[in-house]
Symmetry: C3
């Protein structure tokens, strides 16, 4: 069994799933858990969902370690005397339903699986476009009526987003992170311990930071930033969706992509891009040695993934240069200390 | 009759309008609708507002096509046994009241009128600065008391914005759009079918996208982006308000303004600005022919509105160049397909 | 006595402070106020907190000017028959508690003290990381349970931010300001009369704008922008925290940092940085005289704080130049008029 999630979900008036929330989730669950569930519902299909009654949940809780998060969640569901949603996937296959899409997004955000390690085929098709409101998820087809109805009841319905992906924080908050504006991080983002996403930061689904990291720029879908690397305000990592190339970028450790800078190539460790400079794969770059001599000219993509590079645009000649990065990134210790 | 809106509004404690919401709206309404309304209230003034009772609404609904959106909205108001607000404008004249300002903003966001096609004179003066809260619109003069009062009742009052313009989504959600962070799109934005505004996207009032478009950058007041064009993350279109010039920009079809790039000139069709490059009207540009030869040097404003241009800053010489754009913009099909 | 605040706060389930709100606040309070408070609680410690009963508040209100904001707030507390939180600081010493941290943040946002004029030592350590929700402040350790519990009650709990600093607007709205997206301005920001923070604007704590100002860019911690200066969309002011230098920047009067531009040096008055150009302290700059002749070459940090400078990157040579700024910044009058 690849993964199982137990929780609650929201359906529209037609009975179709809008979203699912799994406070209890397993990656490669123990056989005892699988056995317990197998006795309660038919999980022979490659992936599917079912409803579990409080008495069903009592049987599963017997397989959990006492006091563990899973046990606490299941006990809360039992105490509330409510049915729960279960979603299972025998393998990491293409996504065939909304609950399955949410299961995979949870796996990423729970930091159980790293970005680019899951099969996300079908995710766009299986995620309905939802109005995310102060009353929770509402189907787009039902939103006009809901807004008018709220007005007529002297209630205010706040619509925070109209999107296929919800915000991360309404599902879970990874340990040891700060997210200054929760609208900027989608469910499916991977935020390792010690990651701070500032107001201008952004993390897409299937993207993330290993932690600790200071993220004031944009981590595009597929991009993973290793520990100690910082993205300055509005820093850009080129995505593979609209307008981007095909290469999925990665940023190594202890890099700094400065404010308003950007990269279309992967960076190794200890690389710096100066403020305001955007490196695209086709940027022609003068490589400068430690004595300040130009040693060769090449396209940026040839430097993809290399370490200890400093990228600048020479302010007199306008030439984009790559030098050996001898400048350590001095991070504010207090800042990182009190995450 | 230019336009009529029927809905609800919010007043402050002094009885002044803070905002108005028109789920039922007509541009150039049929004479039969005008006649029905004329029998209920005096609409001889060039523009004005009145209150309509449920029985008044019943008379108007008789003029609507059964099952149409207008009829549904009016029936809902009647069923709720509430008076409604009506606002009319005989002509597209200067805005003389808050409800009239909201009527024009609705016309834009309902995609009934394109940006720059309405007379918006007086809009700043007629829109009060409002605290947009989890309890709806509250007058700035009343907000301190409301915050304290909520605290003393162990309630939380969330203040999402303090602005003359509200967010679009609390009034209406145009069909076939996604808006990842609703705080980034003002009422009065025009979002055509298939427009996706990502987290870093922004659309001002009287500005918009024809659709389909991927908007990860900022569409300033007055700017209109034609179908198929994409704005990368933090891409800028220079506005005519603070710090901008006088020319209202337009972006043609199938353009790409890449991440962290910007333009102060209009673009025709199939133009690209490379990542990180900002073209201002005064930027001196080398025009390069298909053989890579410089053919002339001119100011960017002379290229305003031309098609098939690729703008780059040469990474060796630092010279801003304009080349013929032979590179098609490959958009992620799945993304556009599942809007 | 340096400062006193009276209001309400939120504690977690362990009884530790999460945040404090002081609608009534004094900087250097009159001795009569101090005397009144001294009779009610022991304020001999350099800084501390206590609880005040309605009858205590009645004694303090006797020292306030009738009809003043303080008197109104205290009377509201008395009428609600609730105990209040009082926090005092004898001197502007290092911050030793959460309520004291909030007292200093209020002093800044009430515009009673300018950025960089307060001792903020210890602020990161004294501010707990909090989940800011539609139900107010919730301890991170309690948030999983709160989210699940809301789901089981068919309630929606919206988590807007996970951060040490709350948003400004939930505490106070400075007079004469607009804040288009309240998620972008932290408590502790100083926003003078006439400041507009647009959707892409950002103001950190201990940073701000004198007003009037149009802020569409980022004002980093410690940075102060004098009146009449505008920051274009995504404009960056280099901070002293992650990735930044040690110098705290200031921006003089009537400057324009254009869209997607940035500065790592202080600007005097009437300076302009063209769109898309980032000046770092180490940028080598050609200084051009009024006749267009290069007079010298120096590092940008040598120009820090000078007035009447125009920074551009020459679009033919790629050279960063500094010219005398003869172009006045034409601000849209209507815009500034109707703040």
């Amino acid at each position: 069994m690849f993964s199982i999630g137990i929780g609650k979900g929201t359906k529209n008036k037609q009975g179709s799933w809008l979203e699912a929330y799994y406070p209890c989730i397993w990656l490669n669950p123990a056989q005892s858990v699988v056995d317990a569930i197998e006795g309660l519902c038919d999980i022979s299909a490659p992936q599917g969902t079912a409803e579990l009654s409080p008495s069903d949940l009592t049987k599963i809780i017997g397989q959990c370690e006492a006091g563990a998060n899973d046990a606490i969640v299941l006990q809360t569901l039992i105490d509330a005397d409510q049915n729960a949603l279960i979603c299972w996937m025998q393998t990491d296959g293409p996504i065939e339903s909304t609950p399955a899409a949410y299961l995979k997004l949870h796996l990423l955000s729970k930091c159980l699986v790293r970005p680019n390690a899951l099969n996300l085929d079908g995710i766009f098709a299986q995620l309905p476009n939802v109005a995310w409101t102060s009353d929770g998820a509402i189907d787009i087809a039902e939103i006009d009526e809901a807004v008018l109805s709220a007005r007529l009841s002297n209630q205010h319905l706040e619509i925070l987003s109209v999107d296929k992906f919800p915000k991360l924080t309404n599902y879970l908050i990874p340990p040891g992170v700060r997210i200054a504006d929760s609208a900027r991080v989608r469910l499916g983002a991977y935020l390792g311990q010690g990651t701070t996403v500032m107001h201008e930061g952004f993390v897409n689904f299937n993207a993330g930071a290993e932690g600790p990291n200071m993220v004031e720029g944009r981590i595009s879908q597929g991009v993973f930033v290793a520990k100690g690397s910082d993205l300055g305000g509005s820093a850009s990592t080129a995505g593979t969706l609209s307008g981007g190339g095909n290469e999925v970028l990665s940023i190594g450790e202890d890099c700094l992509i400065s404010a308003n800078a950007g990269t279309g190539i992967s960076l190794g460790d200890r690389c710096t891009i100066e403020a305001g400079l955007y490196i695209t794969p086709g940027t022609i770059i003068d490589v400068i040695d430690e004595d300040g001599q130009s040693v060769k000219t090449l396209k940026a993509r040839e430097l993809s993934g290399h370490s200890d590079l400093l990228f600048i645009r020479h302010s007199q000649s306008g030439t984009v240069q790559c030098r050996t990065n001898r400048q350590a990134i001095a991070l504010n210790q207090t800042l990182h200390q009190h995450n």
